[in-house]
Amino acid sequence: MTAKTILTYIAMLAGVILSGYFGPWWAPAAFVVLLAGLMQMTPKKAIMAGGLSVGVVYLIMAAWMNSMDKTDIIGKTGMLMGGLSSVAMIVVTTLIGVITGVLAGWVGSGIGGMLGKR
């Protein structure tokens, strides 16, 4: 793994955390699109970086919030959504993060490719 790749991953993780914290719910996806586009990442790299960074951030955040859930409100909410436990809610959240990141990376890579052709 090259230094550039590592830096890209770090930048993407940082951007997803910051945009997630300060922006609307779709901001992490927008950030991945932007970064993948500006860096003109290949589809494979963009999908990997997007999926991994958003997925990891969602996983860590969900697990952290779940550890603070004294009233099992996540588990109770999960029961309304087809009987999901709090662990299943973390898994689904991570999956949503991965899908969001993958799609955003793919779109960003496409936009980057179009920019590169110009």
């Binding site: 609307p24 779709w26 955040m61 919030m65 909410t77 949503i96």
Partner: protein
Amino acid sequence: MGTDLPVKGSFLPALGRFLNPFQGVWQNVNPDLHSFDLKGIVKADVKILFDERDIPHIYADNLADALYAQGYIHAANRLFQMDISTRSAAGKLSELIGTRTLAIDRRQRERGFEWSSEQKAKSWENDKAISALIDAYTNGVNAYISSLDYKHWPLEYKILSHDPVSWSTTHCALMLTNMAISLCLGENDLEYSTAHAKLSSEDYAFLFPDHNAKESPVIPSEKIWDFVAVPQLTSANTTPSGLQGSDKDSRKDDLNGSNNWAVAGSKTANGFPILANDPHLSLTLPNIWYEMEIHTPEMDVHGVSLPGLPLIVIGFNDHIAWGSTNSGQDVLDWYQITWKDSTHHEYKLDGKYVRASLRPEVIKVRGQSNVIDTIRYTHWGPVSHLDVHHDMAMKWIGHQKTPVNEVEYLIKINKAKDVNEYREAIAAFQYPAQNKVFASTKGDIAISVAGLMPLRPAGHGETVTSGDLSSNDWQQFIPFEHAPFIINPKRGFVSSANQAPADESYPYPLLGKRYFEDYRSRVVNTVLDSTKALTVEDMKQLQQNNYDLHAAELLPLLLTALDQGACLSEEEKKWFHEISNWNYQCHRDSLSPILFNMWYSEFEKMTWDELENDSVMLPEEWRFTEIVRDFPEHKYFDQLLTRDKKETMKDIACASFSAMVKAYRNLKDEDAKDWGHFKHSNIPHLARFPNFGVDFINASGGKHIVNAMSKTHGPSWRMIVELSEPPKAWVNIPGGQSGDPASPHFKDMLEGYFDGEYYEVSIRNDPSSWTPAKQINISPR
């Protein structure tokens, strides 16, 4: 991922937003319990100090600022509850829920609840001073709503994927209407009409007499009615023919009720009057009430408020305490409409055809196109066209224009210092009719049957009436000076438990006999009458009294009829001995209440087979007991199915006992264990989200019992106030302060509630004298 997904008639919220760990449901894990400052539409600084139970104590320089703070706090803790309650009254649930609530919404729209609430809100604007106070409260609610972004939405909004909507004066009026729907929508016009049509006049009079001879009315018999009553007009009571049916859905739940009493210092151990109140309502989480304390230069008041309405509804201040029970009077009449033609645009009134006014109703339905309906409004009120009240107009107290602003009552009672100011407040009370109990530090006790009570033409109001003649209309309301009221009665206490307001000597007819409770009040009055040197502990015991007077009066008659079990099998005799030894206490650990209730149910079903066949309502329990006692050979005990045999009460008692034993054997082991498990009390979440409520509470008590905890109804707030100087109180609530299911204060007071725990409360006049758990400071913008 940004769109709600319809799944099996329900909806999954847009998952991308909902499960986003920075914004979505994950952010509802940790409720905000920190102190903070904010800018608001206030004239001076306001402090809100929260005590260890999360009760806010508002300290403000004027009432408007206090109400702004109250609105903010109500919204911060109970916004979803406020929203769902007003939507329920207005017929706007389907916008959140979808087609599942469409039938409810259509009925609410056709009953005109939103229409009359809008009228009411407009009329409130006529009184500028009070209108400004309502605006202050509304501004407070909206200040909280406008501070919300998706991350901070209450959990229920995220689950239902709907924005909180801004609050208005109409919402406040809808809250009042919603309470009135719970408490004074009860009537049996159609049922009485059916009974009139199907029974002989002798049978009707035999089964449904007006007065229970054992009744212990709210106003004791010593009261002399020293006024000349307004004479009732006469109008031909042209009950339309061919009516039958039963509007069970909209009928007031007969488990709604309450207890209150006030004991004079002469009957208490330490010489201070004591007042107690426990309103029985449908229990939900969050609880209907929100406890708080308000301090302004004019008042220091503690009690429970109704989120969505300003001020304290039941409580005490430095001088007085007050409480409420429902009066249960019939304040709703149905008038049958004669349309001119199939367009239903004109109806007959006094020999002419009059145009109905039409109000289009657009019901938004989640995931579906809007449903549009047109409601017709007549001289009487809105016309139903959906259910058994097809083409009948509804005249209801909640729809009437009244000269007084309802909030004025709350302001006056919160500030009242003595019995005169209490009576001034009562004069401003409109509906739902309530028994307002009172006690003061000056030593006075009193009770008033408060609220507007219609005076109808003689003989009207019990059955459906023809809407063709305006002379069938309500004449006027009973003048306030003539309404039942007593101060410092000789017996040394006043009390009410939803029984009849007054005895037969009262000069006005009081309709509502099926809703007047016949047992709790007699137990309360017996205990208060027979006990000297009453203490707060006695009051706590009385609020949790589990004596079943209905069983105590009926069961010995039934047991005697069994003739020592002569008609029973050996196995049935075992249960006969079990129930014979019952002390009539409906304790959660006892078995006999199960046996009695199941036996009564079978006995009632077998006795009234004729009436059930004819869709006629059954006599009340007290009357049934009289019939068992005095007419054991009456024709109604003869069963329809056995033509060759004439059964008596004894035969029915035996047969129903055997049926009870059989039914008991078929119960699940868990249910058959004891009364608490059989009754299976529970407190659901307001939106009926599974797991958000409490599925089982092992509680004593039941219907007709002072401790009125049934399956989902029960004492929603218990308060005992000793009118010392300053007053002291003992309170508890089956739930908690917060409406947030993730909050530690969502149901923290529930655990000890059904074990009879109370919290001692005194008014904290000086904010610097105690350390709050949390503080909010509001300063002018």
